[in-house]
Amino acid sequence: MGFWSFSVFILIIAISAYWYGNTKALRLNSNSIEKLPSLPKYYGNYALIWLIFPCLLGVFLWITLNTYILDTILINHLPKELENSFAGGINMLVDRVKTINIDNPFPGTNPELIDAAIFLENKSNEVRAYFLWGIISISVLLCFVSLKKISFKFKARQAVEKSNVTLLILCSIVAIITTVGIVFSLIFEAMRFFDQVSIFDFLFGLSWSPQMAIREDQVASQGSFGAIPLFTGTLLITLIAMLVAIPVGLASAIYLAEYSSSTTRSIIKPLLEILAGVPTVVYGFFAAITVGPFFREFADFFGFNIASESAIAAGGVMGIMIIPFISSLSDDVISAVPQSLRDGSYAMGATHSETIKRVVLPAALPGIVGAILLAVSRAIGETMIVVMAAGIAANLTSNPFEAVTTVTVQIVTLLVGDQEFDSAKTLAAFALGITLFCMTLFLNLYALKIVQRYRERYE
């Protein structure tokens, strides 16, 4: 039985279970003076839930356990001699068997391996059939029991609502588990990196050149993994981006929310939001071929010599990219400030601009801070513009006209191309990742605290 026929089968059972539950409830209602405690459709839904939940759980179990079960079966099946003769251990052998194309094996492949692959294929079909039939029989049984339960004493609505809540909880747990999973995978890889490079050198080293010797005798083999230049580069570019985005974004938000007529607003706001829809790659080459050379010529004019790949080009363009975030979110927040506060201020004889400065903006501050912090984390995570406009040279500098690089760009360059997954060079990406994660985490926590404090004050 294939997966699709299984799905169709379950769907048919589901529809009939719902229909039957519904009809049985209706029949009970019409045949007696006593009425069921819930509406008929809840009885149908209840049966449906008892069919679908076990099904999903079963499929989930199957997906998680399948590889493990098949590997165990295969390992037990493979003859010891083959295992011993194969260089690279049992796990390599299992992977080798799995990659064999049974219909058209690579000429010269060991026939024993091909046999094993065919065996594996058969077993895999067998295991899948067991699982699918198991799932079907268990869930149909549960569904049947739930249909049997329909009576005047059974409150289906409460049961259905309870399972709705359970579903919502499960969904939120998925997000949490994913986050935890990401963090742990980062931590474990980063720990392997810190076995090879000391954490102190990584966090406080001033030089970044991630070269590792592939052969013992290679020249210039000793790399250095000091992350400081990357983090200063990230901060420099983020700072420049924010210097562009915050004033412009906030000013346009104030104009949109407070001064513009509704027609102007209906034109300008979508236009600003188009900025948010431009892919970052496009911004990247805009920065690299237009803004970068512009700054170089501009500096040439005054007799300075700067690189066309510079922090200011990347940061400036990134700032432009972020403007719509800040303006759109702040505009919503400012518009949400109650009119009664504005009226109160006008009634005191305050002008429009005094009202904005002293009443509206302070009241909107938590939201504006939130918008800015969202923009900061966007800027820190941005990669494409920096690759194209600021380069990959890890200079430790605070000069915005020099080329710098950021953490995310280095992660990309470390993981692009053929990599050994046990070399410090590759593992460094995970160390950078976890450090960046900690940084943004603390930034967010701090931001939440600020927002909380203002919220207490202003609401």
Partner: protein, 261 residues
């Protein structure tokens, strides 16, 4: 109509002449003409949507902040038309304070709430002077004793009645001549209402007060003159006592006795 003796002796502070208000095409007020006496409480009563709040907002040109709202006619304060082209509404509103239906303290500390007006108008030349203005205003609004130890707390942390008195203190901090009150007690409980009403009795010694109210009892308690509005028209205006005891028009009587409203 004839006015009673004590009203005759009063000076006229605000004079409304043929005031009509339009929201887009809809006429909300129809040729309102009457005079408001200085240092008296004048209450505006009438069923919902009768235009009394709209009229109140004409007196400090708050209707200017609504784009679709057009005002015709003249409002004279001390014999000067406040709708004349050379009048700056911002300066006018410093002379005509306003207290709103729902207490709307700014998201600032109690002190800063009251200091807001004086500081934007530059009324205080030093910190001490500003503090003096704030404390006097709080005292006049009868709030000082309750908040003297918590001036730096946020204005929204006060109870509803205290918030409304804070708004009154805020309004009187710029020493206006007139205070407009738009149903100032409708969001308050009876005890807080009683306190605000006492405060109005106290304030009227120094200010001209115009109050919109839904409560006939409140109008009877606090005001010397009453204007009854219905469907955008001024039906009847006179001393409160007269309006409530011997109304001239049937509509007024129906409203006061609760037959319409």
């Amino acid at each position: 109509m004839k006015k009673s003796g004590n009203l005759m002796s009063s000076k006229i502070k605000i004079s409304s002449k043929d005031v009509s208000v339009f929201y887009s095409q809809n006429k909300a007020l129809n040729n309102i003409t009457f005079d408001i006496d200085e240092k008296k409480v004048t209450s505006l009563i009438g069923p919902s949507g009768c235009g009394k709040s709209t009229f109140l907002r004409c007196l400090n040109r708050m209707n200017d902040t609504i784009d679709i709202c057009k005002v015709k006619g003249k409002v004279l304060i001390d014999n000067e038309d406040i709708y004349a082209p050379n009048v700056d509404p911002v300066l006018l509103r410093a002379r005509v304070g306003m207290v709103f239906q729902k207490p709307n303290p700014f998201p600032k500390s109690i002190f800063d709430n009251v200091a807001y007006g004086p500081s934007i108008h530059g009324l205080a030349s030093s910190k001490d002077e500003l503090e003096n203005i704030v404390l006097t205003s709080l005292q006049r609004a009868g709030l000082y004793k309750e908040v003297k130890n918590r001036l730096s707390e946020t204005g929204t942390s006060l109870s509803g009645g205290q918030q409304q008195r804070l708004c009154i203190a805020r309004a009187i901090a710029v020493s206006p001549e007139i205070i407009l009150m738009d149903e100032p007690c409708s969001a308050l409980d009876p005890i807080a209402t009683a306190i605000v009403e006492e405060l109005i009795d106290e304030l009227v010694k120094n200010y001209t007060i115009v109050i919109v109210t839904h409560s006939m009892q409140q109008a009877a308690r606090v005001s010397q003159n009453t204007a009854f509005f219905h469907m955008g028209n001024l039906i009847e205006f006179g001393s409160t006592q007269k309006i409530f005891s011997t109304p001239q028009f049937k509509q007024t009587q129906d409203y006061i006795t609760g037959k319409i409203g």
